[in-house]
Symmetry: C2
Amino acid sequence: MNLKQLAHMLALSQTTVSRALNGYPEVNEETRRRVVDAAKRHGYRPNPSARRLATGKTGMIGYVLPTGASVDIDPHFVEFLSGLGDYARSHELDLVLSPADADDQETTYRRIVANRQVDAVYISSPRPADRRVALVNALGIPFIVHGRSEGLDFDYPFTDIDNEGAFHEAARLLIQLGHRRLALINGDDRETFAIHRERGVRRALVASGLALGDRHVCSVVMTEENGYRATRRLLEEGDPPTAIACSSLIMALGVVRAVRDLGLTIPGDVSLIAHDDVFPWLRPENFSVPLSTTRSSIRLAGARVAERLAARISGLEEGARGEVWPVDLVVRGSVAGAKAIPGKV
Amino acid sequence: MNLKQLAHMLALSQTTVSRALNGYPEVNEETRRRVVDAAKRHGYRPNPSARRLATGKTGMIGYVLPTGASVDIDPHFVEFLSGLGDYARSHELDLVLSPADADDQETTYRRIVANRQVDAVYISSPRPADRRVALVNALGIPFIVHGRSEGLDFDYPFTDIDNEGAFHEAARLLIQLGHRRLALINGDDRETFAIHRERGVRRALVASGLALGDRHVCSVVMTEENGYRATRRLLEEGDPPTAIACSSLIMALGVVRAVRDLGLTIPGDVSLIAHDDVFPWLRPENFSVPLSTTRSSIRLAGARVAERLAARISGLEEGARGEVWPVDLVVRGSVAGAKAIPGKV
């Protein structure tokens, strides 16, 4: 059965049937239900060309994928995609990944918008004054930012977690436990999430009359090896920290290995709190010493971004609302009170 | 500049120009170069509609993404995607992910083929007698299988690694080192890669008059936790293995943790070899005891699958050629000779 036949059977116009199936708000609920029931009963499934003709929509969400021999896609991406894909499936949306040179994504954004390849796009890993956000905003295609930029002179819709609040709470707990020298092993600090996390740690320290030493902040690609190297350097040089906040569970593997290699223990010598995106394949409670974490499911964020994109495509969501999710602080065995330091007060 | 103008300027037909830009073999090399040079000089970039009109092609590769609340996409996917995306970019191909109910992918394959949404598809994680392979073969769309099925009554194009050979070599090394009781912590043994790995281990044991005990084979989802649980069970029950082969680096993290929790050591009490897909964020040489591995870059496999898809789309590759890549066995500190067992010969 095609669209024409379905419309004829229902005594509705093809446009009305198509809009009903695509969740347009101008179709009333009773009609929408009648159309959806009939479509299901007769196995009608709109094809992209018909959908496009009737609604001007492609049924596709776009994502510009930075690529290059030296670009490693983070495993976080896969969890985000699980959530996004699950929602997209239930709303019959496909996702188009357009690979782009990591240093020139603008050309690709322009192409997919000019060619009307997708109905909406999302942007991830935003930076301050992010040019991609400014570009898609200017191009006028519906979009959602996963995360936040800063310093743009317009508002835009985003879904982010409270990175600053999470790392503020983590640092505050460590300070309350008596720690005075904290270190932060962070991700790429050209990205807003990392800037916010550092801001949170600094704010907690300043509130207690303390400071984050320059040598006590590292910004690295979030691999196990970089977690290891940063920790070795922090603990082997003068003035070692007694507590570490760390931006990923994968880097935390390296932190744990470095502490062990130095003959030290967690939390006896070093307390550790790491950020947990809730990977099914690596759980903080299963670390040799169960890991305290700031926890937020990146899979749920993927589903939420898909939900908002679908709402913007169908006109149910408009405007530039940003939403910020709170982050749980989960305390497990990897934190303890600071040891009294011999000869110091 | 649009296609019409470019064709007019070159005094060629629009079809010829479009085919030249899409690498069709019927356009001779001199013409192709002339067209490509002119397109570059004038900033011409074919849009999908024009491309489709002139060539019948969409410039899209398709992948049906199994989704569902209980479906975890493996982090391997991200590395595969890095390679695939990098090649696709250089050949101006986009990738369409069509999320599908993991238990009903057939409907989605039929839809994307019927609607001509993509020029070719790839299939991953194949199983014996895989219905998806049979379906896309019947539907007549160009495709490549990443991995292999078994027991289908037709040939099909695939790119796979020699999983059986890799695990045969790993087991053979362990046997040569004096190990008699081997265990295999495997992935989902409904999938061909896991079946092949088990076959390799069994073949090596049989060649030395040994066998793989039923209790010494585990088939689990490849998470850290499952690696831990499998190892605890293996080592705590009677007749514990002295060597373990393990299907992923993530599970190997759990193996190492379990061995440590039991007060045992690698390789003193247990030798360990794991399969390494070459993740940039977790390296076997950085395990507390450097890990011996069977190594094959899944990123290169992604690039190769993209390359073959592009060749099939443009008609440069035809037929049902399967290719099998050899796998390196990399020996590091996690293997050692079996200890003489007191009271046994």
